[in-house]
């Protein structure tokens, strides 16, 4: 396949290996000589010591062996890997960001002003009454929202033990609820891929603290019964949590607060285009309705006659991060929101949804369920993991594979609004070329990538997690 592959990723070699480790290039050991007494200090320190030119080459080589959104599309479902506008990096580099969080409020008015404006913008977008910016990632937002809900119930003297999560939900929902000490009740989907209202009615009760829902869900389907779902949960005394991972499909069209959600998180690194950085930093602010505001993390920011000030909400759960999470992500997301405005944000969602539906219409694989919003789940007729590897040889990143499990050999696909028609056609061509390939040949892929197929099971059986472990062999 590699001969006619439209794409060959760079692959740096040194002898029999790919790009060597820093430790294999130039390492130095120094005797540690300090003004501290010997019993406090180490005797020696051994670290890589590349000269700057070689350091630059090392990381340039590594970057060339890596694939980002500026390399090509990354249609991973529920990940919203859209183009990250370059200008926000220049804003992040502005010296006005170099402010220490322990300054007096009066000396950090610029930061607090932006916090306040972003809190307001997110509250409006979510249809929520109040927002905390603090959680440093989406999963941290979930944990924070659950802790807030727990504190709310506790204040009502109504402690509850269960969180209900649909089977198609993101894994973090289950993990965050368990981390907060709740028993997780899994809710099956109905034949339309949505929440089964009768099953929900049977599942709720006096122990229900929360129902966590993603809407549109991970199949890209809007939960059309959302108002009834909200009533069922609220009638049982529970709260409704909105997982914001899929908010990119609703900007300007619908707001979680209007659907009856009480708590939600935003994934700024998804919806608002801050770069994902190979796995973070992200940021997961949460929005709440009025009754929950007193329980938000501290500090919050408010505007007074003298400017902006921080304060602790009356019954705050305290902190979920030592400071305010990832400030630079906040400032980049705010710039993205301002750049777009109302009309631009609505066009983001319209285009994201159009792109997903267009791509779904162009591929040969079966796409069950529908109508879709920003993502769809196709069903491969071969091992979805093999399909993904074969797609790499076509110069595109594959979708999320084998999940959600309610679709066989799932290919969960979210192209986002920043892919052009031509790119979507390339993606469709990649899907179709792989669909037309003999399943047995798929196992030979990928060949056009920096590394060939990696035996992940073997790597897990014999964990080698540092260059020290390699040296021992």
């Amino acid at each position: 396949m590699s001969d006619d592959a439209p794409h060959q990723q760079a692959r740096w070699y040194a002898g029999e290996q790919y790009e060597p480790l820093l430790s294999e290039k130039r390492t130095e050991t120094v005797d540690v000589d300090s003004s501290l007494p010997d019993d406090l200090t180490r005797d020696e320190l051994e670290l890589p010591a590349p000269a700057e030119p070689e350091l630059a080459r090392h990381y340039t080589h590594l970057s060339q062996m890596n694939y980002g959104v500026e390399s090509g599309p990354i249609p991973l479902g529920s990940c919203t890997m859209k183009y990250n506008p370059s200008f926000t990096e220049d804003i992040a580099a502005h010296p006005g960001n170099r402010v220490h969080p322990l300054r007096d409020d009066a000396d950090k008015q610029g930061i607090l002003r932006l916090c306040h404006e972003l809190q307001d913008a997110l509250a409006t977008i979510g249809g929520m009454d109040a927002v905390t910016l603090q959680p440093p990632a989406g999963a941290a937002g979930e944990f924070t929202g659950i802790q807030v809900a727990k504190a709310y119930h506790a204040a009502e003297d109504d402690e509850r033990s269960e969180v209900i999560v649909p089977e198609s939900a993101h894994g973090t929902n289950f993990a965050s609820a368990a981390m907060a000490g709740y028993d997780v009740v899994e809710l099956p989907s109905n034949e339309n891929g949505r929440v089964e209202v009768d099953a929900l009615r049977a599942a709720v009760g006096s122990e229900t603290a929360l129902l966590m829902l993603t809407n549109p869900n991970t199949l890209g389907l809007f939960e059309r019964d959302i108002e009834e779902i909200a009533d069922i949960v609220h009638d049982a005394g529970g709260l409704l949590y909105y997982d914001g991972a899929n908010l990119n499909s609703l900007l300007g069209k619908a707001r979680p607060g209007d659907m009856g959600f009480d708590v939600m998180h935003f994934n700024l690194h998804k919806t608002f285009a801050t770069p994902h950085g190979g796995g973070g930093p992200g940021q997961g602010p949460i929005g709440v309705r009025e009754d929950l505001e007193p329980f938000l993390p501290t500090p919050q920011v408010r505007e007074t006659d003298e400017g902006y000030e921080t304060y602790a909400p009356a019954q705050s759960i305290g902190r979920v991060h030592e400071f305010l999470g990832n400030w630079l992500v906040l400032v980049k997301a705010y710039a993205y929101i301002l750049r777009h405005g109302d009309e631009g944000l609505e066009r983001v969602s319209e285009t994201a949804v159009l792109n997903a539906n267009y791509l779904a219409s162009q591929i040969d694989y079966e796409v069950p369920y529908g109508p879709f919003h920003h993502e769809f789940v196709a069903s491969a007729d071969a091992d979805a993991a093999d399909v993904a590897k074969a797609m790499l040889d076509h110069g595109v990143h594959p979708p999320t594979t084998k999940w959600p499990e309610i679709v066989d050999e799932a290919l969960m696909t979210e192209p986002t609004e920043t892919e052009s028609k031509a790119r979507l056609d390339d993606l469709a061509a990649a899907f179709d070329a792989v669909a037309a390939t003999d399943p047995e040949d798929l196992a030979e892929t990928p060949t056009a990538t920096a590394a060939r197929r990696i035996d992940q099971a073997a790597a897990a059986r014999t964990p080698r997690l540092s260059w020290h472990a390699l040296d021992e062999e």
Binding site: E46, K82, K421
Partner: protein, 441 residues
């Protein structure tokens, strides 16, 4: 929409392909929950957006900071920005397809290796959010590996409230108790710790440098107390201090948490990079991402996320943590910075943190009305300063464009100062501000 990529004709062709006249028709949202209002946000050009945000950023005062307290500033070489901002790194996703993300995986493997080298422990993960959430995760790990009834963890009474509050949230779910043990003259009171501990303690935590800026003189003794009761010994520290200090594994640390953003990240309103390392015995209980070395089909060494069955996307409610997105890009930057420094450079930077604060204390101590440091011992970056009215001194310094803070220590309140390579040459401003304060003692 600024990043729209379809021409009108392309859009029409796409609408035609999906069989609708307007993208709005694709939204399967009941009318009753449709949003027909406005956000009220006006779109701006790129230039106007920059001007709006940067103008707000300029509202903060121009100050010389001596603040510290968990967020530290060190000079970050330009090459770190230039390399880490390469879009193949910056705009990539978590490495679920390792064949096409070898570069980032290798960089994270190198980061893990650096942490292993610095801590002396066998396993380091890719990152936690910050030092406080890393401590929270350590308490949860201790709870899992030491399953005894009525678990509680012991922390020093000097742990900052901000960190304590995060720990309280992390330990709330499994109902782990958090108790403090006394410090004396700024460092761990080992006898008092021994009185505080019992067999229901799953973890003892101590930090070096600690919240008073002091290097703990005898962590080995702290580890022994923990060991006597079969509790995990968790040490809090940071990646620069470790360049100089004895590796925690050498004095019995089971887990090391702390801040690695001291490498690769300047002051950024409290962004962190949580460091997490532990003994290999707890490998399958580690929270967060791990990168392992393996082989590809061609027989070459290659890297992949590994032991993912610990993680939320596989194990769901039985995962070791809910963490998914972490601080990977900052780990990349920290590794770049460490490599740029090399061992000589890292030791020199750490030594600057020792001498800078002690030189500053000497000068402050010479001023009428100020005693510095409050506690004897070896300081790292930070120290406490005694004076009659610390709050008034802070206000006076603010008027002079100098940011310092106060710290409560039992019933006493002190000034705290932090000196690193980036403000060391501005200690004159601090000393002048303090000298100009009329009050004194």
């Amino acid at each position: 929409m600024p990043y729209a990529t379809h021409s009108a004709a392309e859009r029409a062709a796409m609408l035609d392909a999906v069989g609708v006249d307007d993208p709005d028709d694709l939204f399967d949202v009941p009318d009753s929950v449709r949003f027909d209002g406005e956000y009220g946000i006006e779109a701006r050009s790129e230039r106007a957006t920059r001007a709006t945000v940067e103008e707000a950023l300029e509202d903060s005062a121009d100050m010389v900071e001596f603040l510290g307290g968990g967020h530290y500033d060190h000079y970050v070489p330009s090459v770190v920005d230039h390399l880490s901002l390469r879009s193949e790194f910056l705009t990539s996703y978590t490495q679920y397809q390792p064949e096409v993300t070898q570069g980032f995986l290798q960089a994270l493997f190198e980061f893990q290796s650096l942490v292993v080298e610095l801590t002396g422990l066998g396993v380091a993960n890719c990152s936690m959010y910050d030092r406080a959430t890393a401590l929270g995760e350590a308490a949860l790990l201790a709870d899992r590996v030491r399953a005894v009834d009525g678990d509680r963890v012991l922390i020093p009474d000097s742990l900052p409230d901000r960190v304590r509050s995060v720990l309280d949230n992390y330990t709330d779910g499994p109902d782990i108790g958090v108790d403090t043990y006394p410090t004396s003259s700024g460092t761990v009171d080992v006898d008092a710790l021994a009185d505080s501990i019992d067999d229901d303690v799953s973890m003892v935590y101590a930090a070096t440098p600690n919240a008073r800026g002091l290097l703990e003189p005898d962590l080995s003794a702290v580890g022994d107390v923990a060991d006597d009761h079969d509790a995990l010994f968790c040490v809090g520290t940071d990646a620069v201090a470790l360049g100089l200090l004895e590796p925690p594994a050498a004095y019995g640390a089971d887990v090391v948490v702390g801040d690695a953003s001291v490498l690769g990240l300047p002051t950024t309103y409290g962004m962190g990079l949580g460091l997490f390392a532990c003994r290999e015995d707890y490998l399958r209980q580690v929270p967060g991402r791990l990168v392992g070395a393996g082989e590809d089909e061609a027989g070459n060494r290659a890297y992949t996320l590994t032991l993912q069955t610990r993680e939320q996307h596989i194990r769901r409610e039985r995962a070791t943590s809910n963490i998914c997105t972490n601080q990977a890009w900052l780990a990349l930057r920290a590794a770049m910075h460490a490599a740029w420094l090399g061992p000589d450079g890292l030791v020199e930077l750490a030594e600057t943190c020792v001498t800078g604060v002690s030189d500053a204390c000497e000068r402050i101590d010479a001023l009428d009305g100020f005693t510095a440091p409050v506690y004897d011992g070896h300081h790292f970056r930070e120290a406490l300063v005694d004076c009659a009215d610390p709050d008034a001194v802070v206000e006076h310094c603010r008027d002079e464009g100098v940011a310092v803070r106060t710290v409560a220590d039992g019933d006493d309140e002190y000034l705290a100062v932090c000196v690193t390579d980036t403000n060391r040459e501005q200690v004159d401003a601090l000393v002048d501000a303090l000298a100009g304060y009329g009050g004194g003692a």
